[in-house]
């Protein structure tokens, strides 16, 4: 899974039917110390109610994403926010 910080939200009124009504967050990857990891980011479907500014865990793999969203093998989704992080302890 990826550590990231929610930096924004996406509103898209015209999109593939699978994504209609699904909250999408812009999540920039962070290093364990909290700083951004370059420009790396992902737009992920939110299923935990995360908000802008929060540090989150993102599952960025299709099969897991499909299971998490309870969709069949045709679900065109890969990235899902699976947790909100309270604390990171990592050696420097």
């Amino acid at each position: 899974m990826i550590l990231g910080r929610v930096v924004g939200t996406i509103v898209a009124s015209q999109q593939h039917r699978f994504y209609r009504g699904r909250k999408q967050l812009v999540v920039r990857y962070v290093l364990p110390d909290g700083s951004f990891d370059g420009e790396k980011y992902v737009v992920a479907v939110d299923i935990v109610g995360a908000g802008v500014g929060e540090t989150v865990l993102v599952e960025d793999e299709g099969n897991s994403a499909r299971q998490l969203l309870h969709t069949d093998e045709y679900g065109p989704v890969r990235s899902v926010v699976v947790g909100i992080v309270d604390l990171i302890t990592a050696p420097r």
């Binding site: 930096v7 924004g8 939200t9 509103v11 999109q15 420009e39 737009v43 299709g62 890969r78």
Partner: protein, 92 residues
């Protein structure tokens, strides 16, 4: 998913079966802050409405092909949606 900007179109008269009647769009990948970020690529459009100038979300690899399901379209990049609003909070 990631963010991108449609910057052009591609015409390919010779294509493999499964790609008939599909728009082929040139997309420039963007960072979370909408700055250009890497080389442009060609994507199909699963949002149905994208065109040059549009700000879009896109998927890659297997999920790109899945966006066109049940139709089998052998692509590795596809546009998911058109971004109406993309709100990034500075300093978050």
């Amino acid at each position: 998913m990631k963010l991108g900007r449609v910057i052009g179109t591609v015409i390919a008269n010779t294509k493999v079966p499964g790609m008939e009647g599909l728009k082929l769009l040139v997309v420039r990948p963007l960072t979370a802050e909408l700055a250009p970020d890497g080389d442009p690529f060609v994507a199909t459009d699963a949002s149905d409405q994208a065109g040059p100038g549009t700000l879009v979300t896109y998927e890659s690899s297997r999920e790109a092909a899945l966006l066109h399901a049940p139709r089998f379209v052998p692509v590795d990049k596809a546009i998911v949606g058109i971004v109406d609003q993309h709100a990034i909070e500075e300093g978050s």
